[in-house]
């Protein structure tokens, strides 16, 4: 933790600054105290010179030395006020947020009311009631700042009080105090650290305001605020008398800001150096240019043809990491192609890349041909038109794919009006027809509704209807039912099958669910670590030969799995794009791996049984029986 603090630039800059301020506060009064307090009226109100770097004030005090010497008092007061604010504010705010619901509402409203009083006003009240001076200023400013602290602490606490780890801690019997100290505070500490440093700066400024009103530090004591106030009075004569303390205040605020950022980073283990995820088995690679796997013949009159698709993202200086690494696929009219993979396999990015939806800084390379138009070779406007009229994408989460503030009707007609130039009335008519086609009851009424008024299944139907508006011949459905319940999933799959049969729309169905894919597709691509590792007819998925596909089939119970047999445990986890192993990406997890697997990447080869497999073992002649024995349980999912 401490290491982390000193390894980030903010922490270093902040701590150097804080050390400097501390040194000046401690030593300046004894070294330069005399110089600072020397009065020389004859030499008053002078500009900067060799003897007086920032000039002098009306009484002839050297402003530079006075600034250094008054650092101690300024800091004492600012830190004192902030200390009071923290001690009062954090327990007040965090405590209020942890109260039972009804009491909590009252407490939070009370806090809101208190925060409406400016801190300065409260400080003035304190100064008026007590004697004006250091003590009342510190107390007043501290109390004033504590309410905003309390508000920050309470909203931070509210944000995490319902997080599951709080419930989990309660369930194992953690008491209230410990819950606050060990679970709540560490998780809001980084924001509080920043709030603290901001508050130090605010305290300095508020003190200055108090001094201006004659309620703060009383002469002959001087702090930066007092100096600023005095300086401003002769601003046109000697601007440095005001600028000096002004710059000092700004610099101090900056230093504490950096320091706070550094503390915030140090409080967060996620940001500690060398604390990335487990890179156990992985060996780093810089993957060369994608090699063409046995180039398969493009389907005549295919609606979609993708060659050597790669998607890469920048990683560090001048380096890019490939997340999709040379995927080729084609799609015949009316065909349903399944893409199976776990999260991180690159299956969704493949879909996004085809639809030209990969956002900056991602870079898509390779050839994508939609309906005979090669997207890289035509002007952007035509890409837009080709995609708009022949390809539609349906995403996993229907709520986030719809604009919550726009009526269903307007979301549906936007695309057709743009791409096909229909009039508004014609477009609304088309929209009504499409909603009927996706089996939404009373389409007229649905058109007038907002997304939040629909159920999850209804929203997914609306999205599909939106995709159908331009009568595309390719529909890419990326996990279209993962957010839905199984009975509704079955309805959506009925709908997709109906569209496919009725309009001959080709469908790319992306899912992690092998059962869903096998029941609804003609052909299946299995993806692992950004590549296609197997291509197999959907009805022969259970005869898959790649060890990864076979392990996947056994890792999840299905309705036919024997209840006596253990499931397949695949050790380790899918490598991330930064550390994809050399050779076959699956070899560190593969029970059948031979030395060659760690050296050379197996190409996707047409195999004797008539499907394509990227595996040295499955494709070697002597190991046809091997594939069947994959799936013996290995314990642990990695260490």
């Amino acid at each position: 933790m401490i290491k982390s603090f000193f390894r980030n630039a903010n922490g270093i800059a902040g701590s150097i600054g804080v050390l400097l301020i501390a040194a000046v506060s401690i030593f300046a009064p004894s070294i330069w105290g005399k110089k600072a307090h020397t009065i020389n009226v004859v030499n008053g109100d002078k500009g900067p010179s060799g003897a007086h770097w920032l000039g002098t004030d009306r009484l002839g005090h050297d402003i530079f030395y006075q600034l250094l010497v008054s650092t101690r008092l300024t800091m004492e007061m600012a830190l004192g006020a902030t200390g009071i604010a923290i001690l009062v504010g954090i327990p007040l705010g965090a405590g209020a947020a942890l109260l039972p619901e009804r009491v909590r509402m009252i407490a939070l409203r009370a806090l809101d009311t208190l925060i409406a009083f400016p801190g300065l006003l409260i400080a003035i009240v304190f100064a008026a009631v007590l004697d004006p001076g250091k003590f009342s200023a510190v107390l007043g400013v501290g109390i004033g700042l504590s309410f905003s602290f309390a508000r920050v602490a309470s909203s931070l606490t509210l944000a995490i009080r319902d997080r599951e780890f709080i419930s989990a801690a309660r369930v194992v019997g953690v008491g209230r105090t410990r819950l606050m100290v060990r679970h709540v505070l560490p998780n809001i500490a980084d924001s509080l650290a920043i709030a603290t440093t901001v508050s130090i700066a605010a305290a300095i400024v508020t003190m200055a305001g108090l001094s201006f009103l004659g309620l703060g530090v009383q002469l002959p004591s001087v702090d930066w605020g007092r100096m600023l106030t005095t300086g401003v009075q002769s601003f046109y004569l000697t601007p440095f008398a005001a600028l000096g303390p002004g710059i000092a205040i700004a610099l101090a605020a900056l230093v504490f800001g950096f320091f706070g950022e550094g503390l915030a980073r140090a409080a967060n283990p996620v940001l500690w150096p060398g604390s990335g995820g487990d890179d156990d088995s992985a060996t780093a690679t810089a993957d060369g240019p994608p090699t063409v796997d046995d180039p398969y013949e493009p389907v005549e009159d295919g609606v979609l043809d993708v060659r050597d698709l790669t998607v890469s993202f920048p990683s560090g200086r001048k380096r890019r990491q490939q997340v999709v690494r040379g995927v080729s696929l084609d799609l015949a009219p009316g065909e349903t192609l399944g893409i199976v993979g776990e999260s991180g396999s690159g299956k969704s990015l493949t879909a996004l890349a085809i639809a030209q939806l990969v956002a900056h800084p991602g870079v898509v390379e390779g050839r994508i041909t939609v309906n005979g138009t090669e997207l890289q070779r035509v002007p952007l406007k035509e890409v837009d038109r080709t995609l708009g009229t022949s390809l539609a994408v349906v995403f996993q989460d229907p709520m986030s794919s719809l604009n919550p503030a726009v009526k269903i009707r307007n979301q549906l007609i936007e695309g057709v009006r743009r791409h096909r130039g229909l009039s508004r009335a014609e477009a609304v008519l088309a929209a009504r027809r499409r909603l009927g086609e996706v089996n939404l009851p009373t389409p007229e009424r649905q058109l007038e509704r907002y997304p939040h008024e629909l159920s999850g299944g209804q929203r997914q139907r609306v999205l599909i209807a939106m995709g159908l508006m331009n009568e595309p011949n390719v529909l890419i459905a990326d996990e279209p039912t993962t957010a839905l319940d199984v009975t509704v999933q079955a309805q959506i799959m009925d709908l997709l099958a109906g569209i496919n049969a009725e309009h001959n729309t080709a469908v790319v169905l992306i899912s992690h669910n092998l059962g869903l894919i096998s029941q609804n597709c003609d052909r299946v691509l299995v993806m692992y670590a950004g590549r296609v590792v197997e291509e197999v007819a959907a009805d022969r998925l259970t005869e898959a030969e790649h060890p990864y596909t076979r392990a996947l089939l056994g890792a999840v119970p299905d309705m036919a799995h024997s209840r006596e047999q253990p499931l397949v445990s695949i050790p380790g986890q899918m490598p991330d794009a930064r550390s994809t192993p050399v050779g076959c990406a699956y070899h560190p997890r593969c029970p059948l791996a031979v030395p060659r697997c760690a050296e050379q990447r197996p190409p996707l080869q047409l195999n004797a049984v008539g499907h394509r497999v990227a595996c040295w073992v499955a494709n070697s002649d002597e190991a046809p029986a091997g594939a069947a024995t994959v799936g013996t349980a290995t314990s642990g999912d990695g260490a």
Binding site: A168, N187, V270, V486, T487, L541, D558, R563
Partner: protein
């Protein structure tokens, strides 16, 4: 220890917006067995878990632990109860404190007043029990994979030394390839430690694999409770039949969606049988079956091994899945 829920009800909200999320639910979990609670989102299955563990107050009915009434909030928040009943949450990404090392999280779960050396040793034992290396103790949650995190969450629950564990969707946030190993681990632990599980999931195949008895929940109610083999061989309730048929299966042609429509608004459940607006054997297809919209079939449920809340249950029975 055995866990019994007797006519358990849980309500959220007040007045017109009140929702009875759990409505007179009966579940028996005998010692050393697994009872699966399956249902779709919003049916109230997670609320059952949270009620059992004391995170939400109970509105009616009883929770019995080895026959002893522990329904009061106080009883379920007592140390004795905590040491007997534990829970593993759905999402290990959010159920572990990101600012706390795995070792501290485990030690915290151990009973208070233990010597530092003893709790260190116990934490080490727990981490070994769930198949993780000792080095994991020094790590923070973000340094572990999803499967490893869920193992830590299981270890934390075990550290308390419970007899009963409520498992709420423990694999649904995990990647496909690690689900198998987590389920294997849970079965091994049950066998070795004699644990009693209430296994909650929306995934029928997983529930089938894990449970001895399955309770099917719909809109706050249990519609069918049956030993697992019997449930999948001959489901009685039309909802169970629909649920089973909706599961996509390898080597099995797709069937048309058996249930129409969505889950009704739980604030305003349909009269009579709650499935009636969606039911394939109910009044939408058989107008003569008016009883479905007038009489609540819950009343006819008997406390037998195979319980079904349906007026026409026997007539819907059909063998569906080879077991």
């Amino acid at each position: 220890m055995s866990l019994q829920l007797r006519q358990l009800s849980v309500r959220y909200g007040r007045g017109r917006n009140a929702i009875t999320a759990v409505d007179h639910v009966d579940i028996d979990v005998p010692k050393g067995t697994t009872v699966g609670l399956v249902g779709e989102s919003g049916c109230g299955k997670s609320t059952v878990a949270r009620a059992v563990i004391g995170l939400v107050p109970v509105a009616g009915g009883q929770i019995l632990l080895d026959g002893k009434d522990v329904t009061s909030d106080r009883a379920r928040n007592s140390n004795v109860f905590r040491r007997s009943v534990q829970m593993v949450f759905q999402d290990p990404y959010s159920s572990l404190n990101p600012r706390m090392s795995i070792g501290s999280a485990l030690k915290e779960a151990l009973a208070h007043g233990r010597a530092a050396e003893e709790s260190r040793r116990t934490a080490a034992e727990m981490i070994e029990l769930v198949g993780l290396p000792q080095s994991a103790l020094k790590r923070y949650p973000h340094q572990l994979s999803g499967g490893q995190r869920q193992r830590v969450a299981i270890a934390r629950a075990l550290a308390v030394g419970p007899d009963v564990i409520v498992l709420d969707e423990v694999t649904s946030a995990l990647d496909v390839s690690v689900q198998g190993s987590v389920l294997n681990l849970l079965r091994t632990l049950q066998r070795d430690l004699g644990l009693t599980y209430l296994f909650i999931s929306h995934d029928l195949s997983t529930v089938r694999y894990m449970s001895d008895v399955v309770a099917v929940m719909y809109l706050g109610r249990i519609v069918e409770t049956t030993p697992t083999l019997e449930l999948f061989a001959a489901p009685q309730h039309p909802y169970t039949v629909g649920l089973i048929e909706s599961v996509p299966r390898l080597n099995h042609p797709r069937v048309r969606a058996p249930l129409v429509g969505d889950l009704p608004d739980p604030r305003n459940p349909p009269p009579g049988c709650r499935l009636s607006p969606r039911c394939p054997v109910g009044p939408i297809h058989r107008p003569d079956r008016k009883i479905c919209t007038t009489e609540d079939p819950q009343a006819i449920t008997e406390l037998t091994v195979h319980r079904t809340a349906c007026h026409f249950a026997a007539r819907t029975a059909q063998p569906s899945v080879p077991v």
